[in-house]
Amino acid sequence: MNPSVDALRATFGNTIGRAEESCGDTIVYVARGPLREVLAWLRDTPEQGYDYLVDVTAVEYRDRERPLEVVYFLRSLARRVDLRVKVELDPSGELAVDSVVPLWRGADWLEREVYDMFGVTFRGHPDLRRILMWETYAEGYPLRKDFPLRGRFSRAEQVRQALAANPEAHYSLEELPIAEAFDELPPEMKERLRKGERGKVPYSE
């Protein structure tokens, strides 16, 4: 068992739930409320030092009684230790947890993926949109257990909606970070981008 669990219990008391070991990895359950404080403590306390967020994902079990879990895979690069932190959410209630993007910038797309596939809302996420499915996707959240394997709409409707999408909308210049840096680009590159056929360049004449 990872000694971080005892340290967590000593610091956060009974907001830390049960802990178990699976295949050599320690899993610790944390209440939803103080989640961000717990993760920040794990990251910033020198003797913990979990500075790397490997992955954020979610699990829904076939047993409808079991809660949906959001899983954070943490790793301390210096100490070479892993810790898995789980939050349990009641699927019948509000599926929302605090975003950890303020702690790890890399959580941005990971949380978007969990939102896209499971419908979990991350409070405080800077840009919570679908990431794998297109943004107008209306059939629901594909990895939820109540989602039929072939989707909710008929195949014809799926084809119609797919063909109605504009393939260039996903890659518009507005969406790329380069649009924010437009003012700092060299003049000839600005000129080239202005003449580009794709997207709209902000701040251009």
Binding site: P148, R152, A156, Q158, V159, R160, A162, A164
Partner: protein
Amino acid sequence: MKRVLETKEVAGQSPNYLLAKVQDLVDWAVNASRANSLWPMPFGTACCAIEFMATAASRYDFARFGMERQAFSPRQADVLICAGRLPFKLAPVIRRIYDQMPQPKWVISMGACASTGGIFDNYAMVQGIDTIVPVDVYVPGCPPRPEGLLYGVLLLHKKIRGESLFDRVPRRDEQPLDERGLRLSPEQIDELSEPFGNSIHQFRSA
């Protein structure tokens, strides 16, 4: 001309006989040129693209059959080879590419996934690219071996040699999407997308 008309072969034939012969000659010349210098546009999305690359590389080398130049631009291509599964997110992309290709154009659907959806009978995958673009040759296999793709290319050659400039075959015309934004009717798409019956029982709520 008069001497030709009086020869033994031509005398007694229909007056259209010579015209038909000329048409045949033109067709032969045009089709032979087209078939023997196809410019493929590879649209590789999955493992079939690996076999496609093997087909293009030196051991199998489809340049032997005139596909010397691979066009990575749809405007300079006449065969679209869809190698691999096609998710719904890529459906408007392959349709755009198909629309950008100049006539005459052909499509080879390479592999089980491109042809039918294959094992990916799920919410994210197009069940056969023929619901998006018209397909000329289906190459089965998962993935097809390079010999399979070469056989498909040779079948396409055969198909091209059978075409005629003087027939207004419907597929010669542009095939725009209808007012619903679909290539086929919704009933046809649903029917094409039905599973083959070897998958486990699954329900669809709509």
